[in-house]
Amino acid sequence: MWQWFHKLGSPRWFYDISGKFLPWLALASVVLIVTGVVWGLAFAPQDARQGNSFRIIYIHVPASFLALAGYYVMAAAGAVGMIWKMKLADMVMIAAAPLGAALTFIALFTGAIWGKPTWGTYWIWDARITSMLVLLFLYIGIIALSRSFSTRETSARACAILALVGTVNIPIIYKSVDWWYTLHQPATIKLTGAPSMHPDMFKPLLVMILGFYCFYALVLLLNTRTEILQRERRTNWVKELAAGK
């Protein structure tokens, strides 16, 4: 039963297996995202109050979902790497950091674009926006730390510790920012959660979220494979691979 777990410890085995998944993941993410985009942008009904501008939700919400989920993926991989000393988990963690930071940035950026027509301003210090910004800083800290060590092994271990410390702090940070916002809530802008969406608007969103998850998995695998090749570049199997067998 534990055999697959031990096999995961071998970067080479993972490289071979993940190569077989890649085309399917790529296919799934292209199909889902194209379907979701066309459905959401062209066929979903207009919002009664926001008109067409609400359609950016089809990028904004999936990106926000994965920005936060990405931090937990990274921290979980870091924990596995620390507990079982698994090289592969370290590599996944290092691969997940820039990806999560990019998604957090996309979530903030699309939120700002959406904010202009909706609230009349690109930026407000709303609880969710501020939490997202702090999340971006947490990601940036990990990326900065991962680039400062001379060996990849040390850098992965150090980042794992920081990611775990960040993870246990994220709920505290979120709750405190939420509380802070209720304290200073400006009267003019009401940002209560979107009133339950009409199913015709919600279905394309669901497709987009699934598509983003597939795309996330795809890019994470690609990043991890690059990391594997870089770290194992002195081993025979990578040399053979590079020489084209």
């Binding site: 900065a144 702090n169 940070i173 709750k175 405190s176």
Partner: protein, 226 residues
């Protein structure tokens, strides 16, 4: 072999003795604190009403920056002269010795900042009611800054260029303390009950007390062995 408590107090005593022999370094964070607060009226307005409105936040942010600046010293000198490695080789659990170092560090950097803060409150015309929660909050808050900062300092100690990186790593973690700390002062100034907020601040600090020594000890092992 020295007993656990013996080793714990020996580390505190040693760090305090070293700090006492470098008294100039002790004053630097305080002067930094003072100068930042002096820049506020120059940059914003000398009007007491406006200063009073921003005083809680400004004092908290300056205290945060002052303790952040001093974090570098936590492990750096010991790492450079090799005594940190000796601490790691000692039979006592490393997290306990790290906790001792954090406590000593807080006594020489956090506590002076706390004691200095009422003066700055006066200079920024903080209303009378705000002084007690400011002091109480800063005692808890600077302790949390030292505890969580120790994790960052441990991660960056072997890099020799840690200072900016260290700030990047730990500042996001300071967000809850800043929020609870400033709002405790603000509530007191507005004549409201601040006990609940102070309890939240104490909870965050207690939580870091549980977490930080282990994380910092783990980080030291990674940073130095690796």
């Amino acid at each position: 072999m020295t007993s656990l408590s013996g080793a714990f107090f020996a580390v505190i005593q040693r760090d305090l003795a070293i700090a006492m022999r470098h008294r100039g370094d002790l004053l630097n964070p305080l002067f930094f604190f003072l100068i930042v607060v002096t820049l506020v009226p120059l940059g914003i307005s000398p009007e007491p009403a406006r200063l009073a409105a921003i005083a809680p936040g400004m004092i908290w942010i300056s205290a945060l920056l002052a303790t952040l600046l001093a974090l570098d010293n936590l492990f750096q000198a010991d790492f450079d002269d090799g005594s940190l490695v000796q601490l790691m080789l000692s039979p006592q659990p490393l997290w306990l010795l790290v906790l001792a170092k954090i406590i000593a560090h807080w006594l020489v950097t956090g506590l002076p900042v706390v004691l200095f803060s009422p003066l700055l409150g006066l200079m920024l015309s903080l209303p009378q009611a705000g002084f007690l929660p400011l002091l109480l909050g800063l005692v808890l808050g600077t302790a949390m800054f030292s505890l969580m900062g120790a994790v960052g300092a441990a991660l960056t100690v072997a890099l020799h260029k840690g200072s900016v990186l260290l700030s990047l790593l730990v500042m996001p973690l300071y967000v809850p303390v800043l929020i609870f700390g400033t709002s405790a002062v603000q509530r007191a100034v507005d004549g409201m009950n601040y006990g609940g907020v102070m309890a939240m601040l104490a909870a965050v600090t207690a939580f870091s007390l549980l977490l930080a020594p282990f994380a910092a000890a783990g980080a030291l092992k990674v940073g130095i062995n690796g």
